[in-house]
């Protein structure tokens, strides 16, 4: 009997060893799963889980299964650090985050410090949406990689488009009161001033982040200022509720936005009745005309019930696989080295690359407007069952999105 137990134990140990050789790659997803940011955070989680399933169906990354570990940070930098430590303690070597540059900056600092103190246990931070420019400029880190165009790049493209719209005379800026919102307002003021000095900035508002439940007072102010155009970097509930209040009050202006496509946004735009007056800048559009992307979109919607808000997350995960295969290793240090300067064919077509100097990914970006879809065969995707969808009004090629960086990268 005893011998049997010993044998069984030995067998189990061997099996256990075999299992750990094929250990899964855990990706710590640190984003809001409760609170004001939860609607977008849960969408992001579904996206990453879908992408992990996609990779696993094709054998994972170098034979390792990819596993997403959801960690709720309540859009709070302090809480994010607790979650990041928790993830690291659980054996996570890759973390990904997107919602809130306040959180992003904290995580960037966390990985930098952690990696310098724990050589051999490095952690990489894959950023899919925190776009404060400072993260790839003065605060840049070797261990951070960003797949979303930073706020300045987006504003550059947006203002280039606005330059050609003579009807814009009075612009109102409304943004969330934290690093990202502040960088949007600063860039908008500077770039609009340079490109169209005749445009008047009639208001410049910062409101508390993810705390406002009724935007009516802000809408009253926009109206009183006589604005014809609003520029906003608001996301998640802060965008949806802003537009909802605008719809209720009957505010008729053009909206130039970063994140109109997120949860609740399209429904609120439809309510305003502002057809083709709400613009969004993004690295992908559901009705892009790219066959592979549109097939992906169809399957994604069927399985998750949401749209592909984050084509950049698709790029991130696929490029992660490509980099690991190039390095022939899932060791974060080797993957990081492989990612530097790597070229990649992006989700909606065209080539992007991860700039070595600052770890900012450059890719074609699109300005699209939201309205009814004329040709259902060419533009099959509407949003949130509104019957309206995004169509491209302008495409900016990778080369035109390049902005200089002040990053002084410290390499290990």
């Amino acid at each position: 009997m005893r011998r049997l137990i010993v044998a069984a134990t030995a067998a189990l140990t061997v099996l256990g060893g075999a299992a750990s050789a094929q250990e899964s790659i855990k990706i710590g997803y640190i984003d809001p799963l409760s609170g004001g940011g939860a609607s977008v955070g849960e969408g992001g989680l579904k996206t990453f889980q879908y992408l992990a399933d996609e990779l696993n169906a094709k054998g994972g990354i170098l034979g390792h299964k990819v596993e997403i570990v959801p960690l709720d940070n309540k859009t709070n930098p302090q809480e994010s650090l607790v979650q990041a430590q928790k993830a690291v303690d659980a054996g996570v070597h890759y973390i990904t985050q997107g919602n809130g540059s306040s959180v992003g900056a904290a995580l960037e600092d966390f990985v930098t410090k952690h990696n310098s103190r724990n050589p051999g246990k490095e952690v990489l931070y894959f950023n899919y949406a925190a776009v404060d420019p400072s993260m790839t400029n003065e605060k840049c880190s070797y261990w951070h990689f960003r797949w979303d165009a930073n706020s300045d790049i987006k504003m550059e493209a947006l203002t280039n488009y606005m330059k050609g719209q003579p009807s814009i005379k009075k612009v109102y800026l409304i943004n969330m009161d934290y690093s990202f919102g502040q960088s949007v307002r600063a860039a908008a003021r500077k770039m609009l001033g340079e490109k169209r000095s005749d445009i008047q900035v009639v208001g410049d508002e910062l409101h508390p982040m993810l705390k406002v439940t009724d935007f009516s007072p802000y809408i009253a102010k926009i109206k009183a200022a006589g604005a014809d155009t609003v520029v906003t970097g608001n996301w998640g509930q802060d965008f949806a509720l802003l537009l909802k209040a605008a719809a209720d009050a009957g505010l008729k202006v053009n909206w130039y936005t970063y994140y109109a496509g997120g949860a609740g946004g399209p429904t609120a735009i439809k309510q305003t009745g502002l057809e083709n007056q709400v613009f969004q800048i993004s690295e992908g559009v559901p009705n892009s005309g790219n066959k592979a992307a549109m097939d992906f979109e169809k399957d994604f919607r069927a399985k998750t019930g949401i749209s592909v808000w984050y084509p950049r997350a698709v790029n991130e995960m696929r490029m992660f696989k490509a980099a690991a295969e190039k390095a022939n290793s899932i060791d974060p240090v080797k993957v990081a080295a492989a990612l530097e300067g790597m070229k990649f064919d992006v989700f909606d077509g065209g080539e992007g690359f991860m700039r070595k100097d600052d770890h900012q990914f450059f890719q074609p970006i699109y300005i699209s407007s939201f309205g009814s879809l004329a040709d259902k065969a060419k533009e099959p995707f509407d949003e949130e069952n509104t019957g309206w969808g995004w169509h491209i009004v302008s495409k900016i090629d990778t080369a035109q999105t390049m902005l200089p960086t002040t990053c002084n990268m410290k390499r290990p």
Partner: protein, 315 residues
């Protein structure tokens, strides 16, 4: 400017009336029973989620009646099986019980309905602009909220001050044994009062849910400001809560509408000083500090008039 004033006043009154609807239940419970109910905002959240669920099953109008009743039943249960047992240990025990309850309700709600917002919409009958001032529309639903709040205020005031029921309820607070000797069941009176207070919070939830955001942390957003309202108005005073709600609603909306900062009054700082925490303070606008103004008010009221605007007691 006239436009901004008129519209901000309207917005302020609308928000103020919602605050009143919420604080009325809290203040009724406090004035009758002396219990500061920390879980009040959680009952409001329960009301919103019950309202959402019942609207899906049987429509908005039945939900408007049934959801507050359900919340009232939950409230009575809490009083009967929770507060009544802790009552003998004093107010601190009661306070702690409601405090814990608030967390428990939040967790239960997020377990059942998830943590992200649910799709709770304004009923189609009320989804139209009621009137237009200065080319700004006012949604009929907000006017509906206003009307409900006013009706509740009047009904409560009349019941408490002019009816026999109100008389017994008030007497039960100050002279419980006397009321008991007169043949009234004091325990049941307290239970009913707590139930009515909770039901009022539930009602506020049902009608505020579609207008604001129905999600599991909505209690945490509104909870703190409720205490500002009832402390400011005077603990336990219904007219005080009414005035305080309106004032806080107006202060918050007008603060958002104002752009003034120290820099705009005294001119920008000398650039040679460079960026520092001082420049941040110098340039911050009233609009940016709007969310903390009510709490500032709370502190000032506690220092200079601890009984609040119309309060009668010193605690």
């Amino acid at each position: 400017m006239a436009e901004l004033i008129v519209i901000s006043t309207l917005n302020g009154v609308l928000f103020g009336m919602l605050l009143f609807l919420l604080s009325s239940g809290l203040t009724v419970i406090f004035s009758m029973m002396g219990v500061l109910n920390f879980a009040h905002a959680s009952f409001y959240m329960l009301g919103a989620f019950f309202g959402y669920q019942l609207t899906r099953w049987i429509g908005f109008w039945p939900a408007l009646v049934i959801a507050p009743l359900l919340v009232g039943v939950v409230g009575m249960g809490v009083e009967r099986y929770g507060l009544r047992n802790t009552h003998k240990h004093g107010h601190v025990a009661e306070l702690l019980l409601t405090f814990g309850l608030a967390f428990a309700i939040e967790e239960i709600v997020s377990m059942i309905w998830g943590k992200s917002p649910v799709d709770y919409r304004v009923p189609a009958v009320l989804d139209f602009p009621a009137f237009t001032v200065f080319s700004t529309n006012y949604p009929a639903y907000k006017i509906f909220m206003l009307v409900v709040s006013v009706v509740i205020f009047i009904a409560l005031l009349v019941t408490l001050k002019r009816t026999r029921v109100g008389l017994i309820v008030q007497a039960a607070l100050t002279h419980p044994s006397m009321v008991g000797h007169l043949g009234h069941n004091v325990g049941r009176v307290f239970m009913l009062v707590f139930g009515v207070g909770s039901a009022l919070a539930g009602l506020a939830g049902v009608i505020a849910g579609p207008s604001l955001v129905t999600q599991s942390d909505m209690a945490a957003y509104l909870g703190p400001i409720l205490f500002v309202v009832i402390v400011f108005g005077g603990l336990g005073s219904l007219p005080g809560a009414f005035i305080a709600s309106l004032l806080i609603g107006l202060i918050q909306t007008f603060a958002v509408a104002l752009n003034g900062s120290l820099a705009s009054v005294f001119g920008p700082l000398d650039p040679s000083l460079g960026p520092s925490p001082l420049t941040d303070i110098w340039n911050v606008t009233i609009a940016q500090i709007a969310p903390i103004l009510p709490y500032l008010l709370l502190v000032l009221v506690l220092i200079f008039r601890p009984m609040g605007l119309l309060g009668t007691r010193e605690s």
